[in-house]
Symmetry: C2
Subunit: 609 residues, 2 copies
């Protein structure tokens, strides 16, 4: 390593799964490691007690490498992305429901497939290969003159002759007119698109049949950029360092590549068979994927390089699909209300409804949109990745074995838990954590400030890793692979998250001059929405206190929005109209927001009404 290199630098270079929630700035303490051999100066940090320091504990990002070292990375400093590897996510919407939704739309996919059988050229019919293809497309009903990228034109003469003049031609429905996206010998599989939810913490990909709208496969993985920081700001800082932009871009592409390779292997497809993609990601994630300078997203006045992107070709973006496939990015409206939110708003249909709707997407950032078909206002708040399982001792993504619902019958008994797919418990996902908070509070095990009440004499109150904790499952209990618990440190993170969302909703209502009761419909999207119990979320104050029938769970709204963009021209037009219409409210400069936030750091709120 170079002079000045740290243990963190060395771990990054070696691809080791070291956590660094703050991106290596020395603040979070998540990268604590143990120096087992070699000399290494102490790295002062509140989390490193004199005792731990004596045992060789150092912050990797502050520990200078001056000679050979033997370093042990404890489990709590290890990235879950590499532990969990990645999982095939269970489908929550079934194909039938999906097709029903599509039936209301004109099927007009981003890429249409034409099966052509062209006449052989003769001296009398001596059109060029490209013009012959264009004529064939016209006869097959394609309106307009298609353009063709150079690389496909280079392959065309040989392909036409090898295929006996029988081709499958994929044509993109670009705003500027039809554009040929892929050409292959006739008789390939169905036309397939990739819908991608590019989250700060979790990336979800789905192969979609462009004719039927059916989901062929879905898979998810933690975003490998987590090694450069768990929140957006840390990522932007990391991208600004020397070579950082390239590293973050490569990590995003590695994540996507692993997902796509997995999907393709499962579906028995080749990269070239995926001829369209739609990506819904927040503004920063899209910048980092495309190598756009994200630096000013984090600095006042918070200006992205671009909120709206033209349709790009896959090869430009690095996506591992057919090189000339069109890649459509859901547009954003600002640095902190990006394409992921607009895709969710699109998917829930609030832009076409008269009822006042509150849309909440709580991922690593919380984004909230209020309005109806007449007007809309959107804002964003920093929630952190706690609900996605990052930074929580026993957190995990919503995957089989995750505890997604909890009920505590009595203070003394074991809590009842529901896990995803009924598998033995492996960890806690977002909805399970919310249930836990609400139920602990209801049973008096948690106080209004979010602290565990040791006086409650609950037998499940234990100590884990030096912190007070509530034990959900002991190792072996109902087949649990390990102890599963929630610590007071975890609870503090969850409290901050719920306060951010609560304060944002209250601020938005205040700006609009409306009362919570006027909201007719609350749409909860994002990973959080998959199994959330609204009554528990209301109990901790995160959601407004409304009748249960006003709540609705959109599942992964970004992903479903990306699906719609792949499948429907009307959706591609509507999302542009949404981007034109949503007013962006910047909370960081809003005087009311900080007051609301502080008041929301209580369960349910300082204003107990």
């Amino acid at each position: 390593m170079n002079d000045g290199a740290t243990v963190y630098d060395a771990a990054l270079a070696a691809g080791l799964p070291l956590r660094a929630d703050c991106g290596g700035k020395g603040t979070c303490g998540a990268c604590a490691v143990k120096i087992e051999a070699g000399a290494c100066l102490p790295t002062p940090h509140p989390s490193i007690t004199p005792d731990r320091e004596k045992k060789g504990c150092r912050l990797a990002c502050r520990a200078a490498v001056t000679g050979d070292l033997a370093v042990y990375i404890p489990e709590e400093s290890t990235l879950p992305a590499c532990n969990v590897d990645f999982e095939t996510i269970v489908l929550t919407e079934d194909d039938a429901k999906r097709r029903d939704a599509l039936a209301g739309l004109v099927p007009s996919p981003l890429v249409r497939r034409f099966a052509l059988s062209l006449p052989h050229p003769t001296l009398e019919d001596n059109l060029g290969d490209m013009e012959r293809l264009a004529r064939g497309l016209k006869l097959a009903g394609l309106p307009g003159e298609p353009t063709c990228p150079l690389d496909l034109m280079q392959q065309l003469p040989a392909l036409l002759r090898l295929s006996g003049w029988r081709l499958d031609v994929s044509v993109a429905d670009a705003a500027q007119g039809p554009e040929i996206a892929a050409v292959s010998a006739a008789g390939g599989g169905p036309p397939v698109g990739l819908a991608l939810d590019l989250g700060t913490t979790t990336v979800v990909g789905e192969l979609v049949d462009l004719c039927t709208g059916a989901c062929i496969r879905r898979a998810a993985a933690y975003n490998r950029q987590i090694s450069c920081g768990t929140d957006i700001i840390s990522r932007i800082v990391a991208a600004g360092s020397k070579g950082g932009g390239e590293r973050l871009r490569a990590l995003a592409l590695e994540t996507i590549e692993r997902i796509v390779e997995r999907l393709l292997a499962q579906a028995g497809l080749e990269r070239g068979g995926v001829t369209a993609a739609a990506v819904a990601g927040n503004t920063t994630m899209v910048h980092l994927l495309l190598g756009l300078d994200a630096e000013r997203i984090r600095l006042e006045p918070y200006i992205p390089a671009a909120n709206r992107l033209p349709i790009l070709r896959a090869a430009e973006t690095g996506l591992p699909i057919a090189p000339s496939a069109p890649v459509l990015f859901a547009p954003g409206i600002g640095s902190y209300v990006g394409g992921d939110v607009l895709a969710g708003v699109l998917a829930c249909g609030m832009g076409r409804a008269g009822d006042l709707t509150l849309f909440i997407d709580a991922g690593t950032n919380g984004e909230i949109v209020l309005g109806n078909r007449e007007w809309m206002m959107g804002c964003a708040c920093s929630t952190g990745p706690a609900f996605e399982g990052i930074g929580i001792a026993c957190g995990m993504m919503a995957a089989p074995g995750a505890v997604e619902a909890v009920a505590i019958g009595s203070r003394d008994g074991a809590p009842q838990v529901t896990t995803i797919a009924g598998a033995p418990a492996r960890g806690l996902c977002g909805s399970g954590m919310i249930d836990l908070m609400a139920q602990l509070f209801a049973r008096g095990i948690l106080d209004r400030k979010g602290l565990l009440v040791s006086e409650a004499k609950c037998p499940r109150l234990v100590e884990r890793g030096g912190h007070a904790a509530y034990l959900v499952r002991e190792k072996g209990e109902d087949g649990a692979a390990k102890d599963i618990y929630l610590t007071d440190v975890d609870l503090k993170k969850l409290l901050l998250t719920k306060a951010a969302i609560q304060a944002a909703i209250r601020t938005l209502l205040a700006e609009a001059g409306l009362a919570a009761e006027e909201i007719r419909r609350v749409v909860i999207a994002g990973r959080l929405g998959e199994a959330i119990d609204a009554s528990n979320a209301i109990a901790i104050g995160m959601l407004p206190n409304l009748p249960p029938d006003r709540f609705e769970y959109a599942g992964n709204g970004s992903l479903w929005g990306a699906n719609l963009l792949l499948l429907s021209r009307e959706a591609r037009r509507e999302i542009i109209r949404l981007a034109d219409r949503i007013t962006y409210l910047d909370l960081s400069t809003n005087p009311g927001y900080m007051n609301e936030f502080i008041a929301s750091l209580f369960i349910p709120h300082t204003d107990a009404t």
Copy 2:
């Protein structure tokens, strides 16, 4: 070198300027070299007499390298491209005339330059950089929503801030809508485009002021692909060999790069300052430049990969200008009537006129179009590069010192010659050769079959290189740098060329059922047209016998057409209409053409009327 490699392969690999008119197939004999040391088996060929063979003469393309050799390349086997290097061509149209022509068009260049001064972003005005730029363009009068290539978006944030939010933005007028082509800090030079005439033998480039239409600089060079064959068929065969396509593409780009570098140096500009290009080239040259498979251009039924190309970005094409600059290719209508011809037809305006017009572009291929605004018919014939100076003992391109006109006052006296720019004679260009043929025929020094008449007792009849020759200038005469003469071998090539053009014109008229007298206007384009004396061309039979006032010289019609494509939207539309309308007549399968050709191998013709 590998096993089986020849002296020709070694010369190509070393970049030596060895001629190979047939592209290394062993037929033309142009690559004869002398083996001065080392063992090398004889290479039988009619041009290698037993005596020459004994002296070590071998065909480089057949001479196997089996050990170390010392090889001498005689001057006649050396490519002129490397001797002549390249020349700045004297402008033939003056800027005033050019501007007059433009005055009739709405100035609507392929790329428009906007000078923007954008407001700094604030919390209240927090558009993304890209959206701010788009708003600025809209306020400056750009209609429609511009798209922007990813690489420019990547540069935009830094550029905006370094420039103090003052930018020059070049926007392409693409058929699909406006597209940003280049962005730079305000205050650069004028917006500049590159017009390129991509000929088989000669490539001419011109820098054009996109506001005024003025020619900034013009330069030309021999196409370096000549080392892979002088005619189109040899080039296609060479491109079909292993690695041949890449080599030919690289040679075309090297040629263009030398021209553009020279132009930029003279004009004091950078590559990035050239933000648009229009290319007029024949179908094969365009295929070889773009790496398109040209193989089927030479095989019945003669099918190109594409006759019409979408606007490409410079980086895709390899052109050494701003990477996202649009590159427009003049469309062609068939394998042998390409964009060069259509650019010339566009430039001469025959598509807008009622009079019957004959358009002749005689480069290395002869292309002829007959018609008016109602109908048009086009055909092509193989003329060879003789008129461009290739394969002619004292041939050269039309550059300073080239003999462009000749008059032979008497059989005994010295001929009067005119050289380009009045420089001492250095060689013969096309128009000078036509004058010579006609004048030699008129004075009885040349017979009807195109053979020099030794009985004519002309003191200028000499022997050069083993062949009978007519001495135009002796070394030192009027400052001539060397002997300048025309041999009987040269005359045979010129006769074939004139016969091809003559037969094509006669065939086209016959197909249209018209007599030559009905032609109201003859437009002569191409390098030949620059100084041709119609009476001499009529005398040898090449041009139809019409009154002098019906002839018109278009200069380099392809280049001027490329200029129009750069400067006028109306021209960009008209050339598409032309491509839709011209009927292509394939002479290779036309039964009348071969008869006409044989009859035209006499001066002026077997049909003496």
